[in-house]
Amino acid sequence: MYRYDTYDQTLVTERAAQFRDQVKRRIAGELTEEEFRPLRLMNGLYLQLHAYMLRVAVPYGLLSSEQMRKLAHIARRYDRGYGHFTTRQNIQYNWPKLEEVPDILDELADVEMHAIQTSGNCIRNVTADQFAGVAPDEIEDPRPYAEIVRQWSTLHPEFSYLPRKFKFALTGSPIDRAAVRFHDIGLIMKRGTNGSTGQIGFTVLVGGGLGRTPFVGKTIREFLPKKDLLSYMTAIMRVYNMLGRRDNMFKARIKIQVHETGAEKFTEMVEEEWSHLKDDPAYEVPEAEIERIAAFFRPPAYETLQPTVPDFEEKRLADPQFASWAARNVSEHKVPGYGIVTISLKPVGGIPGDATADQMDVMADLADRYSLGELRVTHEQNLVLADVKKSDLFDLWQDLNRAELGTPNIGLASDIICCPGLDYCAIANARSIPIAQQISRRLGDLKLQHNIGDLRIKMSGCINACGHHHVGNIGVLGVDRKGEEYYQITLGGDASEDAAIGKIVGPAFSKDTVVDAVATVVNTYLGVREDGETFIQTYRRIGAKPFKERLYDAD
């Protein structure tokens, strides 16, 4: 993984010192809350319902075991012994004290981490495919470019006071595990026109997003050569910074600009701006620098192993629980004899994405023991050990079970994405965590879940859609109706390369009936699915009508 040099280290150290001073000025009353707000936000510090919340950046989700231990330490020392992994592949602490935040930032800087631009109207922490570098379907590892974008966007003088927040996601694979089509800018690596010998570049998507007005990103350039990455990103950002709406924060995201301008016209504007920038060496990352950064992501020295590991196969046959974990939580690795393990942070009935400090320490140890000392956070709020030998899987599984981290539910009904909701969040309309927990319990029987198969349930406590409900196969959205919590159900959303935005199925449900309603949707699917059909495939075949009938006809 990428390691800081003295430049990177100096920046985070200086930034932490700068923020310490800003906090001091705030506490002394020299800064008003309004003036302090954008400063603290650009350092990841929110004011929530009950306390400050600190969001720590995990660039493209990648963590060393040492960093994970530091996160555990921070949870213990400065918070209440746990942290919450987010859909931006970051971690949030819900109870830090303002006066201690500078100390936390110093501790983070000690392990090459920070909270820069995890909030605010600036370019946020960059996300990427959690299987980058190990997925067999990948064209090229996108992480060197994610790191270049991270550095380039850090304290960007021109783009730190944008109309609204701005999110990048990258993938190097045609299989989209990073929801790149739902980001302000999505970059998909692809090979150019000369087939397998062609150079690799990016397809550029702009204007995707969730929130109150969801859009699938529009392709504004089919192929962008790598050397043009930063000049083209600058062109997009500049067009947005100058013309994005500032009169109404609900219409300020680039997706609205792209929608209102029209993708074609918007593309023209970007291309026009780019024509002035593309040959300017100021925007070109030197070849030697790309190589320097790429070197950090070169494949490790894998052992030469047989693709089939008899011991692993025997254990699977002998232990059905292990078999179901291996079926759901282990993905194919590009190197024979290895597997990619996704650790579920979704125990049945638990809080999605939460991990205790002890669990973080355990996962750090397991990363050292089994997976070359690295971990990744997924946008679905789970963690990944990317390089586990198949011969180690059984031992790893047992170790995970001892820490209550062995839930075999990746991609299943209880693997729910959920925002913090009204239990923490100042802008939520409804509680989301307790509903997600109830749904998880309701559908959580392992046999039932495995029978249901692939199903993405995503839940947000308000229209801002932090829980990605628009792209849940089943989405649940909390709304406030005259002071009472209600829940809308959407069907048919999909965050993958088959991107789709879910449609509202009908009137909202009360908090006492929404869990039944979700179960009814699932039962409807179970009743009508054809052989081997997943929920989303069935929905695409039969549409919303049968679900609607089952949900509302009884009334």
Binding site: T10, E14, Q151, L155, N241, M242, H276, D280
Partner: protein
């Protein structure tokens, strides 16, 4: 107001005329609005004292790009500190249009933005009248961060390049 130019407090020789019908001093450098420039362009042809123009946050430099040679200074007005359009305007003035005169930030700006302003190409900033403490603070604000990942034509070399120099 106090003017910081190139990091130092200087006396401000300019007047800023927000009222388009206010008399224009013949012997002093003066900023006028875009509207006045468009209205009085011909009448101003004979003026010898320096002329400057104020761009509001919804007035991009492309509006006056062809006339830039006529101006010794461009002021970028921040209606509110978080309206960041002028950061792009400053970059455009310097990079696209090669403007060599003064680029001044006026309006609601925060000390914490001074470095970004400077990096974007702003060389003069109007700030609330300072005490000795504030002066020290501005210097500090301009020096708090010493690492730059972007090339912005402000003369500083980006880290991407520094790493590969000698």
């Amino acid at each position: 107001m106090t003017l910081i130019k190139n990091g130092e407090i200087v006396t401000d020789p300019w007047v800023r005329l927000d009222d388009d019908d206010a008399p224009l001093p013949e012997d002093r450098p003066a900023f006028i609005t875009v509207k006045r420039w468009q209205r009085d362009r011909e009448a101003l042809a004979g003026r010898t004292a320096p002329l400057g123009i104020v761009l509001d946050s919804n007035e991009p430099p492309s509006l006056i790009a062809d006339d830039l040679a006529r101006f010794e200074a461009v002021a970028l007005r921040f209606p509110k500190f978080n309206d960041g359009r002028a950061f792009s305007y400053a970059c455009l003035l310097r990079d696209r249009y090669g403007f060599k005169g003064e680029v001044r930030a006026v309006g609601h700006i925060l000390r914490d933005q001074l470095l970004f302003l400077q990096r974007a190409g702003v060389d003069a900033m109007e700030v609330a009248a300072p005490d000795a403490r504030a002066k020290a603070d501005w210097r500090k604000a301009l020096a708090e961060i010493s690492v730059y990942y972007q090339s912005t034509h402000d003369g500083r070399t980006s880290v991407f390049r520094l790493r590969h120099q000698a």
